[in-house]
Symmetry: C2
Subunit: 117 residues, 2 copies
């Protein structure tokens, strides 16, 4: 695949978007801490609806961040490989130094812009 084309950047952006949701990040952190969990266990830990979670899991799987292993009626999810925790670590390190700035970002998570007179 050509890494210079506009379409490739659009697809690469979609990959990063897999990391851009609090529920998906909480799934990744839970799997990093606990190794492997099935859908029901993740529903319990995150406290969200099963169908909703399943959509997010499909996203993480399609984007190569997690893999699954079926065991009877249960489907266990775990991090895809060692690069995933590395990615999370580096991202968290940069984020820790800049969370205050992220909160003021007007493009991402556009807050209603403080009204001024």
């Amino acid at each position: 695949m050509n890494l210079q084309s506009m379409e490739t950047y659009t697809l690469w952006a979609d990959f990063w978007q897999a990391l851009s949701h609090p529920i998906r990040l909480r799934v990744l952190e839970a799997l990093r801490c606990e190794g492997a969990l099935n859908v029901g266990q993740l529903v319990d830990r995150l406290g969200i609806g099963q169908g909703h979670l399943s959509n997010h899991l499909a996203c993480l799987k399609n984007c190569g961040l997690v893999t699954t292993e079926a065991q009877g009626r249960y489907v266990y999810y775990h991090l895809a490989d060692d690069r995933v925790p590395t990615l999370l670590d580096v991202g968290e390190a940069i984020f820790r130094d800049h969370w205050a700035g992220v909160a003021t970002c007007a493009v991402v998570s556009q807050k209603p812009a403080p009204t001024r007179s």
Copy 2:
């Protein structure tokens, strides 16, 4: 800042979102290759409107991925630190192994779902 709270994950998701846009990725790649560029040079290289680009640059700056240096009327942008190329490298490595799956992801970049009869 408490790294366990839901709000923190929401903010961390906003940080990742800075990477989730083709224009912002192209800016980061341009800066990685060329070191430092001002806004006009980036407008030329990316071929988009100045105001539009400026919004994306503000996003990257707020999220700690780039920093700026004013020189007279020009503002030069460059990558914030060495962790940024590391982040891009690891992300690209995982993406390269899974771009076909990313393209089928229904949560991110929801395609109109192939109609079946």
